[in-house]
């Protein structure tokens, strides 16, 4: 074993999706910046939404013994992690977004309190809306997408109980055309503020720009894409969790904890623009 801390991570979508996968990639880059390339290196397999493919990668990394930490970034990978962690008790795993460590000593679980930022975004949206209608484009009603949307709706309810929040789940993380048309439908139904989560929100963002609506985002900063339409973004700073896990491992503790990004612990950061 050398002094370099090696991490391997698998993620479902592209590293530059302005969403879930990018949040982890950016975090690993941040950790590398912090620790230096001599001390921290990582392999990242992106675009692996098929659980079985991820399983092959994770198994190989685990079996190779070359990595100090193996990350399965996607809650659909849970069962794979559970199986592998049992098979390779000497390897440290982290996965999310979830709380469940399966009661294993070598598994860390991480999640984001996406509802917190969602709430903040919602409060602001409630205050800003002029038409009193707000549109949400969600992927599938699961995981942190659901958390975010629920938090957002609650936030609007707190600041502007009169406002209507229309929520559409398009049943896909990646169907940009459908997400786009969902946003159009929101606009046609008088929404002047849009929000949404997952990588297909790039479509709705374009619609917000085109129609002079405002956009609230989550997972990663979409400020550049959203231009003037962008208002508030909840950004995941997984490095907060990662640094913790890494120091634990370096101290000989392979896992067993679950972590949560919150506004309080600095794992969730709000960014405002426009």
């Amino acid at each position: 074993q050398d002094d370099v801390f090696r991490v391997a991570a698998v993620a479902p979508s592209a590293t530059n999706d302005l969403a879930f996968s990018q949040s982890m990639y950016d975090a690993l880059m941040a950790v590398q910046m912090h620790m230096g390339e001599d001390a921290f290196q990582f392999d990242f397999q992106d675009g692996t939404f098929i659980v079985d493919d991820a399983a092959v990668a994770l198994r190989e990394w685990a079996a190779s013994g070359d990595y100090d930490l193996v990350i399965a970034h996607g809650s659909q990978f849970g069962s794979v992690v559970e199986e592998l962690a049992g098979e390779f008790p000497e390897v440290s795993f982290a996965w999310g977004t979830d709380f469940n460590t399966f009661g294993m000593e070598n598994v860390s679980a991480y999640t984001a309190a996406a509802d917190q930022g969602g709430y903040v975004n919602g409060v602001m949206a409630g205050l800003m809306t002029e038409s009193g209608v707000i549109g949400v484009v969600g992927p599938i009603e699961v995981g942190d997408a659901k958390l975010y949307v629920d938090g957002f709706v609650a936030g609007v309810g707190a600041s502007n109980p009169e406002a209507t929040v229309n929520v559409v789940y398009i049943q896909s993380f990646s169907d940009v055309p459908l997400a786009t048309e969902a946003a159009e439908t929101h606009i046609a139904n008088d929404a002047d503020i849009l929000t949404g989560t997952a990588q297909m929100v790039v479509g709705p963002i374009a619609i917000a720009i085109e129609n002079g609506a405002r956009w609230f985002g989550t997972q990663a900063s979409q400020a550049e894409l959203a231009q003037n339409a962008g208002v508030g973004f909840q950004i995941y700073k997984w490095e907060v969790v990662l640094m913790d896990i890494i120091s634990n491992i370096q101290a000989g503790e392979l896992g067993g904890h679950s972590y949560e990004l919150t506004l309080a612990n600095g794992g969730l950061v709000m960014e405002f623009s426009g």
Partner: protein, 316 residues
């Protein structure tokens, strides 16, 4: 929640927008299939067209060298060329090399899917939007209540798509080229014996099909969505192929199928937006269910081109 909350003008407008890429792609596929070539690679070609068009416009706008309308036209041109080239490749594989069209189409699809994403990641990196085709405001017309919103407030490519429907019908049914296409798709031996080059006709239709698929992609990336992302089309090309069967290989009914499919899709979005309490899953599957049901009850059915998927070989 009444019916007038559901069947709003915007739902119809939305259906028209949603139908646009399907119409482009399905019309192109209609040409190819009418001549006997099944191109299952439409989705891949759409993706390449979408990326090509997007990237051209993106470059033009970054550099500021081409005034906006010209930059957009450049995007359309690039999409047509990229699509046409891929159509040409498909023609070479299925006409000259006589490869099994089902598989080669899937190969073309995978190639387009992969390459468009690769190019995007290497050349652009992260989702960026471009100023795409703007919505056109017609004097007077756009301001007509309801009708104005439904028909007279779309971008240029939407109108091009719908204009292509009667044009395609005309080409297929009323021109010598269309006659050759129909003959080649039904009985290539006979067409050959009458001095019609089966290969040339199939090359032409498959290339046209590719160009229209490319345009279908561009209608997303530089007109409706104005950005590119990996797998931007999300499988629309396959639906387009299905719509060709749905429409019985006739441009008008193919377009009608695209409209039906898109209308149900627009409707399900509207119903969800106004808060109806049906599971999203059922809303999303509605267009597919309705399409099947519509075909079950459609009385008139047309025989498919008899030579479809069959490479032609002189008995020599």
């Amino acid at each position: 929640m009444g019916l007038d909350d559901i069947f709003t003008a915007s739902v119809f407008a939305s259906a028209i927008r949603l139908a646009t890429p399907y119409i482009f792609a399905a019309l192109g596929e209609t040409f190819a299939q009418r001549s006997g070539v099944l191109n299952l690679g439409v989705d891949g070609i759409m993706l390449m067209g979408a990326f090509g068009g997007f990237y051209a416009v993106h470059l033009a706008q970054e550099a500021g060298v081409l005034a906006e309308p010209l930059g957009l036209l450049l995007g359309v041109l690039v999409a047509l060329i990229v699509g046409g080239l891929m159509g040409l490749a498909m023609a070479f594989v299925s006409v000259t090399l006589k490869a099994k069209q089902g598989i080669s189409g899937i190969g073309v699809y995978l190639f387009g899917l992969g390459l468009s994403e690769l190019l995007f990641q290497q050349l652009v990196g992260t989702p960026k939007s471009v100023a795409g085709f703007p919505r056109i405001s017609f004097p007077v017309l756009t301001d007509i209540p309801i009708l104005g919103e439904i028909f007279f407030h779309h971008n240029l490519l939407v109108y091009v798509a719908f204009a292509l429907v009667p044009i395609s019908a005309f080409v297929l049914n009323r021109t010598t080229f269309g006659l050759m296409i129909r003959a080649v798709g039904q009985n290539p031996e006979a067409a050959d014996a009458m001095g019609v080059s089966v290969a040339r006709v199939r090359y032409a239709t498959t290339t046209i099909g590719g160009m229209l698929a490319g345009l279908a992609g561009a209608s997303l990336s530089i007109a409706l969505i104005n950005l590119f992302q990996q797998n931007l089309t999300a499988g629309q090309g396959f639906i387009a192929v299905a719509l060709v069967y749905f429409g019985g290989w006739r441009p008008l009914t193919v377009a009608a199928g695209a409209m039906l499919f898109s209308f149900v899709n627009a409707l399900q979005l509207q119903i969800k937006v106004i808060g109806a309490d049906i599971p999203s899953e059922f809303a999303v599957m509605a267009p597919y269910v309705i399409t099947i049901i519509a075909l079950v009850f459609a009385t008139k059915r047309q025989e498919q081109p008899t030579a479809l998927t069959k490479p032609y070989e002189r008995g020599e």
